[in-house]
Symmetry: none
Subunit: 225 residues, 4 copies
DNA sequence: TATGAATGAGGGTTCATTCAT
DNA sequence: CATGAATGAACCCTCATTCAT
């Protein structure tokens, strides 16, 4: 016999989904409480107010996601830079696009995308605790992959290019699936996608390394008035 | 003497900014009307309701953006595939990240990102009119750049990788700027960024071409429960 | 070739219908103007404001109704009291239930019923000009029919009983038709109805005359708590 | 010490009065809430929306009215048809014109009249539950009073004539009191009025019975163009 | 710990009306 | 005479929150 989750945790799970799908303002505590089979006042009781619930959701999402899908392989695994890059990318895909983490609910990934778009004060803490370390890990990987030939600015740019590809799938899945009709749904294709992004990014980094001496010799594109 | 914009157009400009920054639900017509120095009822008079205003904004943003920054160079310009790729990427950056289009307002780019995240019914029309043609243009460019060696699935994947990098800057600018402190603000760096994405993507495409024979020989990563 | 009615008159006709169907408050000048193919501002132009339009409608309805269906037969017709009663009753039915008066529109009758229910200030004038003379005419008829045996209170009571029957058909037609399914629609049955009310009322008056000596020997009915 | 009515019931009472006096559209929830010493949102909390409140009012009015003033005397009372008719008529008068039922409020009777004039969907249920049974009861009484000599059409017509007189007092009281100055106010005169209507109707029915052989030999009255 | 009643702020929308053209 | 743009008041309703139980 399965013991049902206590009210507090049911609220966090459901709220993560609804906040992600609809945004903080558009999501209503009434709907969250109803779908979680809880009383309306339960939100205020457990989390003080709507924002408190949101903060709890945010912390819960990141702690679970990084616990389940860490960014670096266990120490005994290979230290080969390219394999670390592949591992990192794959973890990004699974972290927010796999539904395993939240009992089949799928809004949580979108909630993260929303925070990138419009960071709330609650996100500051997340950035320092989770995001910045990620940047450092990925920067080190990129640096290693490039053979140490890239300056910090180029490293950051490459890192952003890599993360951009991953995140894009997370938050633009509805449009990607509409435009690229014959592509498999993003959620069912995580291995193929991470493999593609890995190769693409590897080529990208190497090209940046190989064209370091070229200047950005393009004139600024003018708008046609 | 400068003739002020009529109420209708002022509303569209301001609404594009506020809808973009705050989202459809969180944005209030009261605030939009106030900032546009218009009466609250003017929204309903000109656009029937809040949603009508939103639709008008969406159409306005895309028509202006693609008019000012087309995706293909004028016919007399070089047909060199790589130059066409560079032109395309640069247009993407300028389209939604440059503030020229909307009188210095900056929310419009975010509004597009929101539509990618949560397409509204009003976006269907935009997808068919503007987005899908873009996909076709970029697919042709990628195919040409690859020397015709890529199958449709790989072409799409590469196209998504390219667009993903561009869009990521559009919608994650706040976080990027917070994490990569010493990087110049995205909006003032469009030429450098488009040049970087161009080189990175060129390398990515070529790598995909060069590793076509390799299989995706990675086992699915398991979550650590 | 038929010349279309000028805007002012079209507004009056349409407004009479809509005011009658929906009530003064619920009726909107927008709808009235649209159905009359007139500009919204036309109401204010021709009638100063919504209330001015309403007053014009009220005056128009009564002047037309009593002009088309007077309450007394032409002088050369019989002066027989019973025939005058029958004539009076029939005129009441035709006045507001026949659609001839207003180009097929049917709301006007209801508008009168609304005024009985909730007289507006605009109705004061109508009462003095049209209603009170009716009361006097009917009182005289009832007095004659009774052979002069009734005191003023009884006369008034009988007059109210007669008018009540007629008006009831005017304002309760929807319910009557729903309850008495096999009765012909009120509007198509005016001759039968006026004949019935005539006979019924004649019997009523005579009964009142014949039981003048009886006192009202009924105890007040108590409510069961 | 008197315990005050709970919010929900206070709202129903006040709303019945205001809806009756002003009509559904013209009545505002603000005013209702204020007069009931309740918060505006209480209406939506208890009744979902304005229409829900209206439905509750309608149901409340009829259930109370018919509970307090049933249409048939208790079984032990006389089964004399004329007495049943008198009892029925008196109940009609007291039902909606006596202020006892609603704590001195007087709009409820008008609300019913409004429903006769313009039935709302909410009235369908009332018609079947309360009105139709009334018709059957009154039809049986009329049939008995006539000695079984009337066909269904005549019975219905007589029933409508009786009800018409009663309802007329309910909904036209303001005009009646203005025209018949020396008549006592309707609300203080219910016994006299019900006695009058009883006698008048008795005479009416008998006259209909006695003139069954006469045809409706009147030509349709023509309008004078 | 949990709940149903109640609340005040603020939301979008409708409306009659005005004014310049 | 007629019109389209614009306005401010008032409407119903939703919302997060509180409080007594």
């Amino acid at each position: 016999m399965i013991k049902p989750l206590p009210t507090r945790e049911r609220l966090i799970d459901i709220a993560g989904d609804i906040f992600g799908r609809e945004g903080f303002k558009a999501a209503t505590v009434r709907k969250i409480a109803e779908e979680a089979n809880a009383n309306i006042a339960a939100v205020n009781y457990h989390f003080r107010d709507k924002e408190g619930l949101y903060r709890a959701v945010l912390e819960d999402i990141f702690s679970k996601a990084f616990q389940r899908f860490p960014s670096v392989p266990p120490p005994e695994a290979a230290a080969d830079p390219e394999k670390r890059l592949h591992f990192f990318i794959r973890a990004m895909f699974y972290r927010f696009l796999s539904r395993e983490g939240w009992g089949g609910l799928s809004g949580q990934g979108k909630l993260i995308a929303r925070e990138f778009l419009n960071p709330t004060p609650a996100f500051d803490n997340i950035v320092e605790t989770y995001i910045r370390p990620q940047k450092n890990i990925l920067s080190a990987i990129v640096s290693d992959v490039s053979g140490g030939k890239l300056d910090p600015d180029r490293i950051i740019s490459c890192a952003v290019s890599i993360i951009g590809q991953c995140i894009y799938y997370t938050f633009a899945a509805p449009i990607i699936e509409k435009i690229a009709e014959n592509l498999a749904p993003v959620e069912e294709n995580l291995d193929f996608l991470s493999d593609h992004v890995f190769r693409f990014s590897l080529g990208g980094i190497q090209r940046i390394v190989n064209t370091l001496h070229e200047n950005n010799g393009f004139a600024r594109q003018e708008a046609q008035p």
